[in-house]
């Protein structure tokens, strides 16, 4: 009760704090002195108020205060404490509040870490950022108030969807939001810098940190979501080209492109327009993602709030921001003479441009694939589905040259480079292609495309490994990320090619045999947990003399009443053994799905390596 009140009123007061921030910013903008400390102070106060509000909601969840509508809709007294807390951001209202909190947190950090930069640029960034903050305040207070009061107070809540009661998913939203919201700082900063014609080397050096921070968080956020889908949705897949996944992938692609592009800006002070456009795009895509997810316009496995009114608000807000940025770009941005400088064919700049080219292509595939069905539905009311075959057909052929350029690019120097003395590049290429041919042929998968794909991924793999030991080459963070990427592609390819799967119906006591495996359904045990009843199936898998015991579960949650299937996974460095069971309607049989997925863990490890590369370059001041 009291926590909700505190939460609500600190939110209202928080909004009013924007007024003095605006006032002092504009005042400070005109005079010539250094940055007025009042701006930082008020930003801090706003941050504290939003934090209080957020804690108010967390406490309402912890104490199961069902007079709060959000708590009532998403919590239950029997839920474990950990999931009561994570329930705070597991819903529409709470997640928006979290978003607002991160917005405030980031602008505060921006203010205290940008002391060496030009005062007016800092002020203008704060102003642009305040626009976003105010938008979210109004959105929260107007149509997504997390502190709505219900009377009479219900005795019990409706509970949290059990598939969301999971440790990976509990931290997935905050991590992902740090990534999304990080792009908001880039957005406000680029608008400020454009207005003041400040897009320069110094600016690039400074904003690069923010790009890296949000990139690292976004990468980790996507990773967590994938891991969750892998074991919780019980499908054994980790990426489904589901619209909601695509939405987190798009800002990631844009950020990755932006990061590479900023390197050019930093080293050669050119490509300014492109950097500006990319920064704006990144944030627009994050916001567009929020819109698509929150409005229920998409048909996806992850359903969130389905409320056209909320959708309309985000949509309008998004387009206001788009038009502000268009305006700023066209009015203030002056194409300087340096943009006329052209690049030498064999140079790092050109290879980064090629990277940008491919990344933008991948981004356009994902973007068009995701929103085309919406367009078609509205224009001709025809419904189509765009799924994995579309993305694979359009992306996989382009992945091959992309991987090759990714291997060669970092070997080149800025401005002008020579290919002489780089014979190892050709040697390694021949080695990779023949190795890949050997692997694919040996296993009777006689597809040329697989040979070429594995070959180019191996090429990147070998070249990056060589660089780890090379003396002249010391860009460890870039090397690590590129190496991680080659590992990722290789693991995914091998995982796809050499997966084995058995789907069968079994009764307790029965066994399944084929030439490779034997699956024995030994026993079924029922037991009661705090908020669910579980049926554990005991299985023994015999494979080439080895024996594994796996225990998948069927859980019947009481609040809300939902049956979930929990996979049991045995992970090793070589492969994952993955088993799920499901009920069959009106039968005493269970549907058993057993999969052997090679190199599964390497997919996660390689994504960790990629993001670790990003983290390293954050701490590496001299080189990136």
């Amino acid at each position: 009760m009291i926590y909700s009140e505190i939460g609500y009123y600190s939110l209202v007061i928080g909004l009013t704090i924007s007024l003095p921030i605006f006032f002092f910013s504009i005042k400070n903008f005109r005079d010539n002195k250094i940055l007025d400390y009042k701006i930082i102070n008020f930003s801090f106060i706003q941050l504290l108020l939003v934090l209080t509000s957020f804690l108010g909601l967390v406490l309402s969840f912890i104490y199961s205060d069902f007079s709060n509508e959000t708590v009532f809709n998403n919590s239950h007294t029997t839920k474990p404490l950990f999931y009561k807390i994570s329930g705070t951001w597991g819903n529409h209202e709470g997640s928006l509040l979290l978003w607002l909190l991160v917005l405030n947190l980031f602008i505060f950090f921006f203010l205290i870490t940008s002391k060496n930069l030009w005062k007016n640029y800092r002020i203008l960034t704060v102003l642009f950022h305040q626009l976003i903050i105010i938008g979210f305040f109004i959105f929260l207070l107007d149509s997504s108030n997390p502190f709505n009061y219900i009377f009479p107070v219900p005795k019990e809540g409706l509970g949290l969807n059990p598939i969301l009661q999971d440790p990976a998913l509990a931290i997935h939203p905050p991590v992902l939001y740090l990534g999304y919201v990080g792009s908001s700082i880039i957005f406000s900063s680029v608008l400020a810098a454009t207005s003041l014609n400040y897009v320069s080397k110094i600016w690039a050096l400074h904003i690069k940190k923010w790009v890296l921070i949000s990139w690292v968080f976004l990468t980790l956020g996507i990773l967590l979501g994938s891991i969750w889908a892998y074991y919780e949705l019980g499908w054994g897949g980790f990426w489904f080209w589901d619209p909601v996944e695509n939405i987190s992938l798009m800002p990631w692609l844009a950020l990755t492109t932006l990061f590479h592009c900023i390197l050019v800006l930093e080293k050669r002070s050119t490509l300014t327009s492109w950097v500006i456009i990319l920064s704006i795009t990144t944030f627009t895509l994050s916001m567009c993602g929020t819109f698509l997810v929150r409005s229920g316009i998409l048909n996806s496995v992850h359903t969130f709030a389905n409320d056209p009114e909320r959708g309309l608000f985000i949509l309008t807000f998004l387009f206001i921001l788009i038009f502000i940025s268009l305006f700023v770009f066209f009015v203030f941005h002056k194409t300087d003479k340096k943009s006329l400088i052209s690049f030498s064919l064999v140079s790092k700049e050109t290879s980064i441009l090629i990277n940008n080219w491919f990344m933008m292509y991948f981004l356009s595939v994902v973007l068009i694939g995701t929103i085309y069905p919406i367009f078609l539905d509205v224009i001709s009311s025809e419904k189509i589905s765009v799924g994995p075959p579309f993305y694979h057909k359009l992306m996989i052929p382009f992945l091959v040259p992309f991987l090759i350029f990714m291997a060669i690019g970092p070997q080149l120097r800025w401005i002008k480079s020579r290919l002489r003395g780089k014979i190892y590049l050709i040697t390694l290429f021949i080695i990779s292609i023949s190795a890949s041919f050997f692997v694919v042929k040996n296993l009777s998968y006689n597809f040329l495309i697989n040979t070429v794909l594995i070959g180019s991924a191996l090429y990147l793999f070998f070249v990056t490994i060589r660089d780890f030991f090379s003396k002249e080459f010391k860009n460890i963070s870039q090397n690590l990320s590129h190496f991680g990427f080659s590992l990722l592609i290789l693991s995914i390819l091998f995982n796809n090619l050499f997966s084995n799967e058995i789907i069968t119906n079994l009764k307790v006591g029965e066994r399944f045999n084929n030439e490779k495996f034997q699956i024995v359904f030994k026993n079924l045990e029922k037991s009661e947990e705090k908020n669910y009843v579980t049926f554990k199936g005991y299985f023994t898998i015999l494979e080439s003399g080895k024996e594994d015991n796996l225990v998948p579960e069927l859980r019947v949650y009481n609040q809300p009443n939902i049956v979930t299937s929990e996979a049991d996974i045995k992970t090793s460095l070589l492969n994952d053994k993955f088993i799920t069971m499901n009920t069959v309607q009106n039968e005493e049989y269970f549907n058993i799905r057993y999969q052997v997925k090679p190199l599964m863990i390497w997919i996660w490890i390689s994504v960790l390596l990629i993001s670790f590369g990003g983290i390293l370059s954050l701490f590496n001041r001299n080189r990136v």
């Binding site: 048909n299 959708g311 949509l315 387009f319 038009f323 268009l326 066209f330 539905d377 009106n586």
Partner: protein
């Protein structure tokens, strides 16, 4: 000048996108697939009581209306629509054919004994493949059929409006 043209073009592009999204928002994302199945497809199927094999083209071939109703004893909404089916079969010139979906005989029989049997004939779709032939997505689902032509399809439990519509078509 050139900049202004580009600005104008990009702005109108975004306004167009805004408009599409705006319209998309107000559309329901609950979608019922549009089947192109116009006639009763050809398949053979077992009958419920007699356990005899029968071909689909011999079921709906007379000069009258049929209502093919897919049901199962485990399906809760089927219980709700059942009285309406009884009512329809008692009062109108229509032959209601049941299709028992992924059920076992004992439970299905109990269901009919308890609630009454509106069906003149019951077919058994043990594995659900016949419903796929018909273009059905689940239970309950009903097809109004005239001379092997599918006149109308009702996804989900029948309600009073749907029954009224059926009555209107029959008359």
């Amino acid at each position: 000048m050139k900049n202004k043209v580009i600005f104008f073009l990009i702005s109108s592009f975004f306004i167009f996108i805004f408009f599409i999204f705006y319209k998309g928002l107000n559309q329901s994302n609950l979608y019922q697939p549009k089947s192109k199945v116009k006639n009763v497809p050809q398949f053979s199927i077992i009958t419920f009581y007699e356990q005899k094999e029968i071909h689909s083209k011999n079921i709906f071939n007379q000069n009258k209306y049929y209502l093919l109703n897919i049901w199962a004893s485990w399906c809760m909404p089927c219980r709700d629509e059942h009285p309406m089916l009884l009512n329809l079969s008692n009062n109108f010139e229509i032959e209601i054919i049941g299709m028992n979906y992924k059920d076992n005989f004992k439970n299905a029989k109990k269901f009919l004994d308890e609630l009454g049997n509106p069906y003149t004939k019951i077919l058994v779709d043990k594995d659900g493949t016949r419903s796929i032939e018909l273009g059905a997505i689940g239970v309950p689902e009903s097809f109004l059929i005239y001379k092997n032509d599918i006149v109308r399809k009702f996804i989900g439990p029948l309600n009073i409006e749907m029954i009224k519509e059926i009555e209107k078509i029959i008359q």
